[in-house]
């Protein structure tokens, strides 16, 4: 793992807690999904938690993030309450989008989450646009676009990077490269060049980061966020990671032949949560007791969120036309 001596212990603890919160929430979703009460597709981010945690650690409540179909982790790391999140998955009026959005369209303006798009590449220009607004207003906010390796193939990626570089917008393009888009491996979609290398064509820093090492993410993100806040423009981060579950749904996909088993197993070894758990234990950042009570606290939060989510009312048919305009 990356060096950490410049990071206050409180931050290290918080990083671990955020990763745990994401992991446990996604695990719980996997467990509950077969009940068939969550009646929408879920794209779980298990295995990718370090990115959301490490990057959002640098963001203020008012900073903006934009994300994709796979956004639970980003929203949690940005501070979204688990209750409206769970309620949204359960399609309830108490959900963050009153049940209109489901798992793919989370939102929480109070925490700087103006919405997520399940159209691949869709959120990239939105983040650049939010950064343009911040720049025009001079409000000092930073915007982040989280998106996948697949999304880096869309025209919007190029168009957004070009504009952000031109205007030196305070935006971070955080490309979570998990090497797959649905079941297509990256080599079937892109030439064999690091995605981070695209940045130089726009005169923008591009950084390749081990996305499973939360400290590496933390350091690279700090630089990027600082640069953005200082008015020095955007950064492209390529964060290498791996998703454990199938593209969609709570099951693994290795048996179906979508991905090689040995690749999958090698990545399981590099579990971002375990790696960092080991680290905080080894370095006496958190004692076993502290970890235990952290776990308990997060589990309780999730319990409550699920109860809240299940209990909420379903939007009535009479509300079908609400919010269209």
């Amino acid at each position: 793992m990356m060096p950490y001596t410049d990071i206050p212990p409180e931050v290290l603890k918080q990083l671990y807690e955020t990763m745990l919160r994401i992991r446990l929430f996604e695990d719980r979703t996997s467990v509950l999904y077969p009940e068939q009460l969550i009646k929408c597709p879920v794209h779980l981010c298990i295995g990718q938690e370090a990115i959301a945690a490490g990057l959002c650690a640098h963001l203020n409540k008012g900073d903006y993030i934009f994300s994709t179909h796979r956004s639970h982790g980003h929203c949690i790391a940005k501070g979204m309450d688990l209750r409206p999140l769970a309620a949204e998955l359960y399609g309830k009026s108490t959900g963050c989008a009153q049940g209109r959005g489901g798992s793919m369209h989370l939102v929480d303006p109070e925490h700087g989450i103006p919405g997520t798009s399940a159209i691949v590449g869709g959120c990239i220009p939105l983040a650049a646009g939010a950064a343009l607004a911040s720049k025009l207003r001079g409000d000092g906010k930073v915007s982040v676009a989280f998106f996948g390796d697949g999304a880096s193939e869309e025209g919007t990626f190029h168009e957004s990077l070009n504009y952000a570089a031109l205007k030196k917008l305070p935006v971070i393009f955080a490309c979570e490269n998990n090497n797959y888009a649905t079941n297509s491996p990256r080599h079937a979609r892109q030439p064999d060049v690091s995605i981070a290398e695209r940045a130089s064509g726009y005169g923008m820093p591009g950084v390749f980061v081990d996305g499973n090492d939360v400290l590496a993410v933390y350091h690279a993100s700090r630089e990027a966020v600082d640069r953005a806040r200082a008015g020095e423009g955007p950064t492209l981060l390529e964060l290498r990671t791996y998703r454990w579950k199938a593209h969609v749904g709570p099951n693994p996909d290795i048996d179906s032949g979508c991905r090689p088993a040995d690749e999958y197993e090698a990545w399981l070894e590099r579990c971002p949560v375990n790696m960092f758990g080991q680290f905080v234990a080894d370095n006496n950042i958190l004692s076993d007791d502290e970890i235990g009570s952290m776990l308990a606290k997060v589990e309780k939060e999730i319990d409550e969120a699920i109860v809240f989510g299940k209990a909420g009312p379903e939007p009535p048919a009479s509300e079908l036309y609400d919010h269209v305009y």
Binding site: R100, A133, E159, L166
Partner: protein, 346 residues
């Protein structure tokens, strides 16, 4: 936000065309748009304009000339040629507090950004349970003539009028151009405003003070009792010309200017058909699944008992726009086509 102070002017809804208060100064459609943009920029620091070359000497047919000089390059911005990304960027600014106006020299460039318009802007309010609104105005111009050809002359309003979550406006007169544009910028709904290149020199009495016209209201431009001609944009003028011709033969045509395609002023249309019993629809675009289809369908749903004759639609021939002069001349329907259509159903 100063917008709420703006009064909607509903007084004109029943006023007959070109009968502007004489005390008013007359300005062109072009000037009316520029005045609306100027006033919006003055009233609200969150308003900005963006678009390819909008700050150049031509200034989008004169509608943005001098605005960069007046408001600075942070509020009147040139843009890369990247319609989909730039629409997303404008929208991203809109959902975080700004009120952008994105300007296109041709409607034909909107197919490049359908994704951000249809999948994003139109859906955002709904998908976020109404928590995040998209105050984004998109202006685009219909080209016509001088060999503009297939890729620079389309009238694609129907593609937007099909999509819930959008508003689609086609002002035909200077007064409406100003009020609808200000209304859109002041509103919280993504709105597509489609102008027609041949309208910029139209003149009309237009109040100097800012005012808004809410979407969803059409106008009776000319009253009549024998046939209803429903038209939009430039075709309003061809329809009025047709009404003049018809009047010479004693046929009194009522001409309705839709102004707003989405929402559509169904009641106005139906009321007129109930009076006249006959319907002709004149659109600047294609027929199939166009706004002419929607108007005819509404008539078939709501006024079938009043219709004394078949509905007629005057639209573009179902072909791309030809470049050459001879075919271009044949391509565009005129008032004479409307006159024949009306006579054909009498």
């Amino acid at each position: 936000m100063p917008w709420t102070k703006l009064q909607a002017d509903d007084s004109r809804s029943e006023v007959v065309f070109h009968q502007a208060r004489l005390s008013q100064r007359e300005i062109t459609y072009r000037e009316a748009i520029k005045e609306a943009l100027t006033q919006a920029l003055e009233m609200d620091p969150n308003v900005f304009l963006i678009g390819e070359g909008i700050d150049d000497p031509g200034g989008v047919f004169g509608t943005t000339v001098g605005l960069k000089e007046k408001f600075g390059k942070d509020r009147v911005m040139d843009s890369p040629i990247a319609e989909n990304g730039m629409t997303g960027i404008a929208m991203g600014a809109a959902i975080t507090g700004m009120r952008p106006v994105f300007i296109h020299m041709r409607v034909d460039f909107l197919p490049m950004c359908m994704d951000q318009i249809i999948n994003h802007a139109a859906k955002w309010s709904y998908m976020t349970g109404g928590r995040v609104k998209v105050p984004l105005t998109i202006r685009a111009v219909i080209g016509r003539g001088w060999g503009s050809a297939a890729q620079h002359s389309q009238s694609l309003q129907a593609l937007f009028a099909h999509i819930p979550g959008l508003r689609v406006l086609m002002p035909a007169s200077p007064y409406d151009a100003k009020g609808l544009l200000l209304g859109s910028i002041a509103g919280n709904t993504p709105t597509i405003i489609i102008e027609h290149r041949w309208l910029y020199d139209q003149k009309e009495g237009v109040p100097e003070e800012p005012y808004v016209i809410h979407p969803g209201k059409g106008l009776v431009r000319r009253e009549g009792s024998d046939v209803t001609i429903v038209a939009c944009s430039y075709m309003v003028y061809e329809s009025l010309r047709a009404a003049d011709e018809l009047a010479k033969e004693g046929i009194r045509a009522e001409v309705i200017d839709l102004r707003s395609l989405l929402p559509l002023d169904e009641d106005l249309i139906i009321g007129s058909i109930e009076k006249t019993g006959r319907l002709v629809v004149a659109d600047t675009g294609w027929k199939a699944c166009g706004i002419s289809a929607e108007v005819a369908a509404v008539a078939a749903e709501r006024a079938i008992g009043s219709l004394k004759a078949p509905v007629r639609r005057i639209c573009l021939p179902f072909a791309p726009t030809p470049a050459c002069h001879s075919l271009e001349q044949a391509y565009y329907p005129t008032h004479t086509d409307i006159v024949s259509a009306v006579k054909g159903i009498r």
